[in-house]
Symmetry: C2
Subunit: 361 residues, 2 copies
């Protein structure tokens, strides 16, 4: 049983941000009805191999031509009987189809209606097309990405702006549903933009930047003893010694005690500004032993270090296996909803709600 059982979501989204959000609703037990157009459906079916199946296999599927009057009337009926509508068209399209927020409110005044778009439903960039990278660019995340001494690089690995919008859309819809359940109030219109969702994740860096008087990128993003370091056997280890106690333990463990006597390195801020010197030294040390030798050495002390998993290491990682964080389904790997939830039973045993762990945990 999922916590969202009994909630019905109509999903008019394609590609990544919308379907990732509605997939969360499906994983949590909601009934999600994905509506696709007749001519080929969601473009992700063709564009990115594997993506469509991953995001949509837990949803019901309905094909509707939203320019056809009889199909429009099917959608109207569905909206009258649903709790949530999530759509991801460019701003203005839903209005032109006759399903703008005012029209839909007349069908179902309690509906939570969520629009996900690149730049939001208003403003000078509203009608511009875009991909994840463009939203990272406008939000400031791209500007601090890449090497501390280099220019902006699309180097973060994953689709941050797309996924930030998925999660903020989910939060907003759940907040509105909760408000409705508690106060029996009308529905809510929710305007999620990818760029503002990315900007929200950028906000801690913005606060830090101004509090530190606008440092140059090399000082702001440089990190000493914080990075991925190559080992003797061609693998990588991640080391993240921010706090003084970890920095001291690390220097003592790898034979860098002389760094503890030098004023250049005696605070985290100084280790950001003098990161290059520290990191060149660490690189020269870490390359001398294999990953498993280092993990064994660091395992003797309390340090924030870990292996760097490549994608094909993930299903073999003992911790991720133990947590059922990545599971085999047929010949595919699947990452389930990442949070474990258990019903609390006061005075008695804990009943499992969903996403339970591997037996013997």
């Amino acid at each position: 049983m999922g916590v969202l059982e009994g909630i019905r979501v109509v999903d008019l989204t394609n590609l990544l941000p919308g379907p990732f959000a509605t997939n969360i609703f499906a994983e949590l037990g909601a009934e999600v009805i994905k509506v696709e157009r007749p001519d080929g459906g969601d473009p992700s079916r063709q564009m990115v191999p594997g993506l469509y199946e991953m995001l949509n296999s837990r949803k019901k599927s309905l094909t509707l031509d939203l320019k056809d009057e009889s199909d429009k009337s099917t959608l109207r009926k569905l909206l009258r009987e649903s709790d949530v509508l999530i759509e991801g068209f460019r701003p203005g399209v839903m209005d032109r189809l006759g399903f703008g927020k005012d029209e839909v409110a007349k069908l179902n005044s309690e509906l939570i209606y969520c629009s996900i778009s690149g730049y939001g439903q208003s403003g000078p960039y509203r009608d511009a097309p875009g991909h994840d990278l463009n939203y990272l660019a406008v939000s400031g995340i791209l500007g601090i990405s890449g090497l501390p001494n280099g220019g902006p690089e699309a180097a973060g690995g994953i689709q941050i702006a797309d996924l930030a919008a998925s999660l903020y859309a989910t939060i907003s819809v759940l907040g509105a549903l909760l408000n409705k359940a508690r106060t029996r109030s009308n529905g809510v219109y929710i305007d999620v933009s990818l760029v503002e969702s990315a900007l929200a994740l950028m906000s801690p860096r913005i606060a830090e930047y101004y509090a530190r008087n606008e440092p140059a990128k090399s000082d702001f993003m440089g990190r000493g003893a914080y990075g991925a370091y190559l080992t003797k056997d061609g693998q990588y280890i991640s080391i993240a010694c921010v706090e003084e106690k970890f920095w001291e333990t690390f220097c003592e463990t790898v034979g860098m005690k002389e760094f503890l006597l030098d004023n250049l390195f005696n605070s985290w801020t100084k280790r950001m500004e003098n990161a290059e010197i520290i990191n060149r030294k660490i690189e020269a040390i870490i390359i001398r032993k294999t990953l498993s030798e280092w993990l064994s050495i660091f395992g003797e002390v309390d340090l924030p270090v870990s292996r760097v998993n490549m994608i094909n290491d993930l299903s073999k990682d003992p911790h991720l296996k133990h947590r059922n964080a990545i599971i085999e389904e047929g010949d595919c790997l699947r990452v389930p909803f990442p949070v474990k939830m258990h019903r609390m039973e006061a005075f008695s045993q804990i009943g499992h709600l969903e996403n339970t762990e591997r037996k013997g945990d």
Copy 2:
């Protein structure tokens, strides 16, 4: 009025992931009571300038020594009168303090109790310390970060694993509160880990990787006509031409028509594998004009391009200003909750619920 008005959250978290989550509750109208220890409180007060104020200024504050019997009893009273507890200690600490989930369920069987930790409440890595980078490493995100032809680099700019956990914790707590409001059921225990939250954001790349038969990093992460390119005046423009129609328009607009005749570049997958050739050519073209010249040229056609904002550009960006996405508060800049919500009024005007836009919108 916020959608979470009437919800009380007890916040036993420090640094970034927990406080970012509880800040969302505060922004949406919940009453959040942040509990800090007497000797200096949340370490973020010292560690990262600006961070504490950004994350905690909308919360009530309470100082409690959780080893003191009288302070313990204050916390017990508070938990009896609250809806949510969010804590971020290393696994086992709350049990040792006498506030483990079973103890707390006896105080308030309806409480939603959420633990946020690096590796979760079980499994072989449970007790290891860690920072954002280590969780990115174990989740596989670090392995695909950095340049397509290079090794893993901490180059994404923001704290992805920390923030992913904040958002998944918020989603899970809201889901549990909604379930309780709809079914009048008992409370729920929620176990959020940073590494599994990051892994969930990695899941689209995992699906794509296996569907494409495990490509090498250079083929998997290389992107032609998708990146930040340096302009004549030392600024950057982001270009993200994934779809054929955008690729064709782009080549025609910048004088790269010969690329449209070459089989090496006639699909997105091929433009990933042959990204270097494309990007060297684009770099040589984009450097010839200024950012504003390029924005004006690209503004005439429908293309996914945008300026790359540096942090100190954000408050001047006309779109972000229009959307009230970043606002001045005293002498600080603040990023409010990024989603606009409006109460739906069927058959009448739309009433503003919160986070309304600039007048004249």
